[in-house]
Every structure is written in C-alpha cells, then in structure tokens.
Amino acid sequence: MENQSKKERLSLPIAVILAGVIIAGAVIWSNKNNANLTQKQLPATEAERTENLDKMKAISKEDHIQGNFEATVKIVEYVDMECPFCKHFHSTMQQVMNEYGKSGKVAWVYRHFPLDQLHPVKARKEAAATECAAELGDNDSFWKYIDRFFELTPSNNQTDLDTVLPQIAREIGLKETKFNSCLTSKKYDKHIQDDLDNATATGGRGTPWSIVVAKNGKKYPLSGAQPYTAVKQLIDLALQEK
C-alpha cells in the first residue's frame, strides 16, 4: 500500500522529467538532422551550423542575380517552386527589391532547392524551365519567367505543367519549340542538383531557405517565409555590419 502511494507520488515528477528529456532530445535531433532531404548527416551545434553557412557556393556572375552585383547586402534564396511559402516569400522579396534594389544596396540571388519528397517531379521540372528561360532569353527572361510562374501556380503539386510552363515561355517571348526541347533535354539536372546539395550543406531544412550576406562576408541564415518587416530589419542590421 505504501509502495503504491510512493509510486503515485513519483509518477508526476518522472513524467515531467521524461517530457523535458524528450523535448530537449527532439530539438537537438531536429538541429542535428536539419531535416536534410538527401539524408546526409549535418553538424548539430550552433557553432557548426554557423560554419555550414561558409559552405555556401560563392556568388558569381553565373548566378541568377537581380540588382547590383556589387550590392552591400546580398540575399541568396534557395527555392522550391511548388512550395506555397516560396510563392508568398517571392512577393516579399519583390518588395525588398523595390525598396533596396534600385539604390543598389541589396541584390537577390536565386538558387534551386526542389523538395522531391513533397513535390516530386514538378519542382525539378519547373526549376529546369527557369534555366531554359535564361538560356533562350537572358537574365531578365529568367526573372520574368519566375515572376509569372508564381502568379499562376496554385502550388502544392497542383500546377498543370503541360499548360503553364509553355504558356509562360510564350508570354515572355521565347520560342516554344526550343523551350520544350530544352525542357526535355535534362541538361540542367546537374546544375539543379548542385544547388540543392549546396542548400542542404549550408543547413537548409526546408523552403524558402535564405542566406543574407553582409559586405564584410558575415552570413545570416533565414528560414521560412518571414514577413517583410523581419527581412527589412535583417537587411538594416546587415547594412550596419562593419
């Protein structure tokens, strides 16, 4: 009887401790695995996570860049084109470029991060379509293609690729036959995979995944479709980096 009472008295603190251990474990596990979609092991600690940002592929003129290449702050965004949060964040970034892009303070660098588990086939094909737009047109065509795509897509695997992809190509003045031929060639598969690998190597755990780079090279990770105010505050902070 006394033993039973003792057990009951102990059950609550044990449950609380167990819950604490599980919460801590889950958070550590989350950081450790970084929800990496290629199942590579990524470092667990914050220090190591910061170092991961240094694995970001250097920004070069081969990147798709909107704004001044010599801008004080550069925002590298890794995007899954079927992700509804990327669609939302795209308009946030357009707002950023309206405010900071024209003065040359901020440049927007666009990279691919198709999440195969969530958006199989479609996200990669859409990424390839943007590359084809850049090849058959120019850097402006690339951005026009993406802007129009995010206007049209309902996201979450509901985009009708056969209709939407060639339609945008036509609308921005690309030759449809060449565009379709480029799209089926798979010539950009490696480039897209390289971007994806780089996103996960830098600690990307989902999309949109962005890295804000200050003039002095300091990098800030930004996860998710954060509101314009948050992005603006982060840009203002990065602009103050000496």
């Binding site: 919460i23 989350s30 996860s223 902070l237 103050q240």
Partner: protein, 185 residues
C-alpha cells in the same frame, strides 16, 4: 459535454482566482508560443545576438520582427493549432502545479494524456515552411520523410491531435480539482 464544461469552469474559478497561477499560465503559454515561432530561426537569433557588430536595438528589432512569421510562415491551420497548443499547454501545466501543491493525486490517465498531448504537439511543431516540420526531421533520419506526404494535412495531424489530447487532459485535471477527495464505493 455540458458536465465537462462545468468541470472546466469550476476548476478555472478555483485555480485562476490566484493571480500567481494566471501569471504562471500566461508565462508558460507565451514561452511555448515564442519557442515554436522562433524555432526555425534559432540559428539566426543566436547569430544576431552573439556575433553581429550592429547596435543592440537593431538586434532586438530583428528578433521581435520574426514573431510576425506566425502570419506568413504558418498556414491558417498550423497557426491556429500552434496558438491553441501554447494556451492549453500553459493552462494544463498550471493546473498540474495547482494539483501538486494541493497534494491531489493526478492519476495515470491524466499524466498519460497530458504527456501524449505535449509529445504530439512537439512532433507537429516547426514552422510550416515546406519540409521543416520537426517530425520530418525525425522521419528523414529513417528515410521516411515521404510518408508525411501521404497524410492529408502533411503532418499537421499531429498538431490537431495534440490539441485534442491536451483538451482531454484539461477535462481530466478539471475533474480532479472539482471533485472532492472521497473514497468511492
């Protein structure tokens, strides 16, 4: 159902008559909410607060502005259950503290339900940006992240389940608080 609501109402009257318990429940709910909204950007917050050379005011502005992510980085469903989980978590834990201080035995069912609700909530949290649910981190370790896509709410089920379990736990705890300590025949 009506009886359950009466239990909750009466237990609230008992527990939250004390401002200290209101303060505790509010603090826990706010802490849980902040934890969930900031979770995807703990790395950024750490980076901004520890290594940035910018003024403190600029650092704090970044941290506070990230709270706006609840409206842009969560779907309506996930934002709703995130807020509900935070509030229920604060209330349930506060009522458990009340019970402990009053030396009322909780009972196995109450502990199991409250514990399951919290655990389920943990699995369902994470910003709703594509692919960053905490559960996906765990599943991807086993190469099973794709399993989430089979669920209609893509993992949000755990958040909903958590709200249900925490609400159930709240009813059980309320009953314990309201019912006097009697030996049933």
């Amino acid at each position: 159902m009506k009886v359950h609501l009466q239990y909750i109402q009466q237990s609230f009257t008992k527990v939250f008559a004390h401002t200290s318990y209101i303060a505790l429940a509010s603090s826990l709910a706010i802490a849980a909410f902040l934890f969930v909204v900031w979770l995807p950007n703990f790395g950024l917050i750490g980076e901004v607060l520890s290594t940035s050379s910018a003024p403190l005011a600029a650092k704090l502005k970044v941290v506070i502005s990230l709270l706006g992510g609840i409206s842009t980085n969560f779907s309506t469903l996930s934002a709703s259950y995130t807020i509900a989980i935070a509030i229920l978590f604060g209330i349930v834990v506060t009522m458990v503290v009340y019970l402990v201080r009053k030396r009322i035995q909780l009972g196995g069912n109450t502990i199991v339900t409250g514990f399951s609700g919290t655990l389920s909530g943990i699995l369902g949290i994470g910003c709703a940006a594509c692919g960053s649910f905490l559960l996906m981190a765990i599943l991807s370790s086993f190469g099973a992240a794709g399993a989430l896509t089979l669920l209609p709410l893509k993992g949000g089920e755990f958040g909903v389940l958590s709200v249900i379990l925490l609400a159930f736990s709240l009813v059980l705890i309320s009953k314990k608080i309201v019912e006097p300590l009697i030996c049933k025949t």
